[in-house]
Symmetry: C2
Subunit: 299 residues, 2 copies
């Protein structure tokens, strides 16, 4: 399906994309670019990439598709490095967790070639990072959100969608603005809350005692605080306005819950807890039904 | 080891205690008391209890050990119902997630018989509740915290410890005050935060869209919001002072993180995230090493 794909950033996200396409027999050659020679060498040793490229020129020459899977703050610089070598038949996409800032950076970097950039975001991840964390089945049954631009050609959007579908993902479409608001609420804010909690506990004088008694509930609650600080710094800054809005709404909610607790208003507290439990149970039932359907071949 | 054990509350916690003791061959007969006849019947059908008792008198007659595994707010009433039938050779313990309030309720209910009550708290749980959720291996390798009273006889504390050890748990000791402060930070606050977040999202006009894109990170972060609202209402109220203190500290922390985000101070944000990631990685390494040692038979 693809003769050559170039991947900028050969860690968990880019590496899993390459492995999945290779497993599907959907690509002949994968070229990789990275900030560090040892990481690139490791990606090559793991069979993620076929060629470790020292320049954007080498990587994108003759590429059908380019995936940028680096921290979002680097998107503009990477696109600028690609532009002088960008062939007319190449489609560029990304895997960034924020989209408005990526689109702005892409417009700035690519100018009149912006039509060749189709923004995307695969909704998948693991606690681990780097090429060793890459999995050929990371995207199976997961959502890949595309936020196409008005300038994009239908067939270019379809080319990006076909690559993610070959990885096993299910294509969804949102506007960049919708995307960023949604993920501020269900992903970026939870990350900030988990990081803030663990940092708060770790700074207490009796942190060792506290961690000693933290159990499986704490472990799940804070799993996302094991994610890359650099990546989440970039995401937080890139989606700052939407994240601040969600954080403010949550702090108001916490203040309201605090009042109920301070007033020992058991019925009002239970109403919050019960509404949350009910909503979560419905949600889990829905996603489990969808996962079951995906496994059975529907989408 | 035990001739007869009586369990008040035959759900996840009490039911798993009974199943584990039976599997270990450590008890001849388990008597159960519950608020609902169908639940008691189900526990009997599942082999959790040998006898469904309609009264405290029937349940505690001749019992070596009584476990109260009901929502903490009911501890006082249950102890009052036990008192008239409490034999001199019976030790009573509980599995409540808070201890200061349980001790106060026990002193109030038992009066001069308080020496027979050894407060406890097994650190184990699941998202599911009720007798069908009970597992004979729920406590293997988990901590069981005892917060003995000055009045307790050493051999009575040891009897309770022996029961939990027979379930596979590792015995820890704290004062009731230490216990409540520690669990406010690492358990009660995270539950409140998770409930508050899911409730907040569920009340937004576009909640369906948000839940549609919530992924595995959100699922883990909110797993504890699937817990019983009634139980967590009681825990929140029972440990209100310590929980309010932790909540206030966390809200200050969130305010500080918000300022960093609003100022687009990437380095300061990253410092919080990196400290959290580092602390969590150390913690996970420590508990994984301990779990490995436990599996190998040490404790």
């Amino acid at each position: 399906m693809f003769d050559k794909i170039a991947i900028f950033g050969v860690g968990l996200i880019g590496g899993s994309f390459a492995l999945a396409l290779k497993k599907a027999g959907a690509v002949r050659e994968v070229a990789g670019v990275g900030r560090s020679a040892p990481v690139l060498a490791r990606a090559r040793a793991l069979g993620i990439i076929d060629r470790a490229c020292g320049s954007a020129a080498e990587a994108v020459a003759g590429a059908d598709l380019v995936l940028i899977a680096a921290p979002v703050a680097q998107t503009g610089a990477i696109l600028s490095s690609i532009l002088p070598h960008l062939e007319a038949g190449t489609v560029v996409t990304d895997a960034g967790s924020t989209k408005c800032d990526v689109v702005a950076a892409a417009r700035e970097a690519l100018g009149e070639r912006i039509a060749q950039f189709v923004p995307g975001h695969p909704i998948a991840g693991r606690e681990q990072n780097g090429p060793d964390a890459a999995l050929d089945d990371l995207y199976i049954g997961k959502k890949a959100v595309l936020t196409p631009l008005p300038e994009n050609r239908t067939e270019d959007v379809e080319r990006v969608g076909a690559a993610w579908r070959a990885c096993g993902a299910i294509i969804h479409r949102l506007t960049a603005e919708e995307h960023d608001k949604v993920f501020a609420a269900v992903s970026h804010l939870p990350h900030l809350l988990a990081y803030a909690l663990v940092d708060d506990i770790a700074r207490k004088p009796h942190a060792d005692l506290l961690f000693q008694y933290a159990a499986s509930g704490f472990r799940d609650f804070t799993r996302i605080a094991g994610s890359s600080p650099e990546m989440w710094r970039d995401i937080s800054l890139a989606n700052r306005a939407a994240l601040l809005a969600e954080l403010d709404a949550y702090m108001l909610q916490l203040g309201a819950v605090r009042e109920r607790l301070a007033a020992a208003d058991g019925a009002a507290l239970e109403a919050v807890y019960a509404n949350a439990q009910h909503a979560r149970q419905n949600w889990v039932r829905t996603i489990e039904a969808a996962e079951k359907q995906n496994r059975q071949g529907g989408d």
